[in-house]
Subunit: 197 residues, 2 copies
Amino acid sequence: MSSAEATDTRSRILEAARRLLVDGAGAATRMSDIAKAAGVSRQAVYLHFESRAALLIAVTKHMDAVLGVQERLKPTRAARNGEDRVKAFVAFWGAYVPEIYTVARALMAMRDSDAAAREAWDGRMAAVREGCAAAIAALEREGRLRPNWTLTTATDLFWAMLSVPVWEQLTQGCGWSSTDYIERIQTQALATFATPG
Amino acid sequence: MSSAEATDTRSRILEAARRLLVDGAGAATRMSDIAKAAGVSRQAVYLHFESRAALLIAVTKHMDAVLGVQERLKPTRAARNGEDRVKAFVAFWGAYVPEIYTVARALMAMRDSDAAAREAWDGRMAAVREGCAAAIAALEREGRLRPNWTLTTATDLFWAMLSVPVWEQLTQGCGWSSTDYIERIQTQALATFATPG
DNA sequence: CCTTTCAATTTACATGATGTCAATTGACAC
DNA sequence: GTGTCAATTGACATCATGTAAATTGAAAGG
């Protein structure tokens, strides 16, 4: 069955790309590396993906399915107050970023040269912003958002605190563990945005 | 006088590069663009600078001189207490980044592919970290550093808050003005690190 | 059995950037 | 004049992405 084989090859490419991006050369991974790892010719990759950018974008989607993002987000939605929600979202994010980091970096690096990559990245980040906005809104509903902030400005800043480069600098550069990152960003977010309990 | 002419050409290249990076195509600026703008051949650029990375690094140094970094840092050192010092450093940074931003971006983008660029960038960022550390240390000397933080962890996080990508996201992405940025990051830094007045 | 179809292969090529090399020009200094 | 040195010109190497065309091989279906 040719279409089943095709799907199979496509998946093999996707998996090979994911593996190389996560464990291998990271953002420096080339199309030929991926082809070799998948056991196909370089041109076969272009048969399934329009461009390097399209492949990277497909890998991120593939990973979301594998990692079960929706499942991981449940505690966030279950939070019973604003403070819990902020903490839950930071905890989700702090556990999630390490798994997508190298792929995210590759996509980020392509933003300058490829419009599709830029759009895909912006879309993912817009989804993260939604999560930030929901947490801030929960605080605000309880009257616990500090008067310095509006919904928008607090969301902007919370979102920036959670950006991938910040995570990168703190964990890769400063040697923070995942737990360190989560606890300290939770602390900062509450100190910044929430009125004392 | 041949050596005077050489210096002159070198300066013209540097200035052309600076102009293109700041006002022109930004990080996408090519060696040939710079040569054309300086009115010399592309190869003449390589006569003065080993590589694109070396040229970018030279541009940042050139800009520090032009922008008078030391002068701008004076208010920071003149601050009479920790809170003032934190605020002064954020104010300095918030006024400084817009001027170096596009050049910084070009250098950042080269980090992956060029070791010299990476080193140069890390060096600049290490200097910024010094500024962060000094401000945090001033707070701590007054017993106003919140007990959640150590000198190191607070410096790490303050430094990350001031990173260029955060500035970029807030000002370019979220539309914050320079004043917005300065005021709000000051607020966040004090809320996070300083015990209430 | 033969033919169509379609994924995949092989090989070659186009492009666009950085960086290298060698021969040449032109001006100024001694 | 002759040597020196910056700069020019033009060709070339390299390395990655992406394109194109001809070919193979296997499965599906009359």
